[in-house]
Symmetry: C2
Subunit: 210 residues, 2 copies
């Protein structure tokens, strides 16, 4: 396992170097299955498409359903099917990068395989990780899966439109996150209702300029 | 990896033999994080406690929050913390079995680590797997994570109380499941609202007798 992670890290550094040479910022989006990453990316593409050049790497265990949902945008999309593996690794991302004209991309989103654990251990060469959690998964998830929330530069709390219908302890959630990663911003969104999306995109634009 | 799975399978068969000797049925519950496995177990314990002797093995990457939620029942509960590993394996379950008086248990629920992929590859020695999916994760999950739904003996579709507030294509979901596992029952529940729980428990009682 140590060996696997060491090799992954070496390749991740290669990816990071290539991306830096082309001035591309890569963002690794990690969440559980069905937290709303693809819908968030749709909202981000709508906002960003006349401001910066966006590309997407779609990671899925099987199927290309998520990639198909993004096809309406005129952007480069590369699908990685992990054939049952539970996370992307830097080697598969390196191959995807070969199929993207990096000179014409400013921001490259990577939608990782839906999983709160394994993707966290595999650096892909990204500039930073964004964690996405949906309210319906429960407020206890940061405490139960701290690795992701420790690593993330921001956490998106998605599906806030469902808060009135569920038991979600927002102060408890925020307190747990503060214990794990004290200065990390928490951005509340409902991607389906397009609420909070401006806040997410403004934060993102700030990071892209930084 | 082959080696890891082979060794896991050997130990799983040992567990299966021990459980059979003690007439214990073991059920491996697999879902994404936050699909409602623990709440379902609470509802099942309430229903089953005066009918059969229940035990629980709680798998978590970190924390014992789920086990604590079940402490109000006077049943044996063994916590396995995987320390960041994304699934239970047959070896950790074998150790847990040593800490349970199997002579006084009829049904042993295993709540696996929240993850739709990795736990599917690791036989624990269970009698069967039950998949739990929550409506809020989206109808496309069986097609995207077919391994679990191919292996499961039943699928629980939980959080049906949220169906009015989300886009969930129920016929599409059922069609995908039928393609993957044609005769598998789909049981709709809302564990928080205690709806559909009778259907789940009746199905379970039927399996325990069989």
């Amino acid at each position: 396992m140590r060996n696997v992670l060491d090799r992954n890290q070496d390749k991740a550094e290669d990816n990071r170097k290539i991306l830096k040479e082309h001035n591309v910022k890569m963002i690794n989006m990690i969440s559980s299955p069905g937290a709303g990453k693809t819908t968030l990316l749709e909202r981000s593409c709508e906002y960003l498409q006349d401001k910066v050049n966006v590309g997407v790497i779609e990671g899925d265990a099987y199927t290309d359903r998520d990639a198909k949902r993004l096809e309406r945008f005129d952007i480069p999309i590369v699908q990685i099917n992990t054939e049952g593996s539970c996370h992307l690794d830097s080697n598969s991302v390196a191959k995807a990068l070969e199929n993207i004209d990096l000179g014409s991309v400013d921001v490259l989103f990577v939608e990782n395989v839906g999983n709160l654990i394994c993707p966290t251990a595999f650096d892909l060469g990204e500039d930073f990780v964004v964690a996405v959690l949906s309210t319906t998964e429960g407020h206890d998830k940061p405490a139960k899966y701290p690795m992701l929330f420790r690593k993330a530069k921001a956490t998106i709390l998605n599906k806030t439109d469902l808060l009135p219908y569920i038991n979600f302890d927002l102060p408890g959630f925020e307190k747990d996150l503060k214990d794990i990663n004290p200065h990390m911003p928490i951005i509340q969104t409902s991607a389906t209702q397009a609420s909070g999306i401006d806040q997410w995109n403004l934060w993102l634009m700030g990071e892209l300029k930084g």
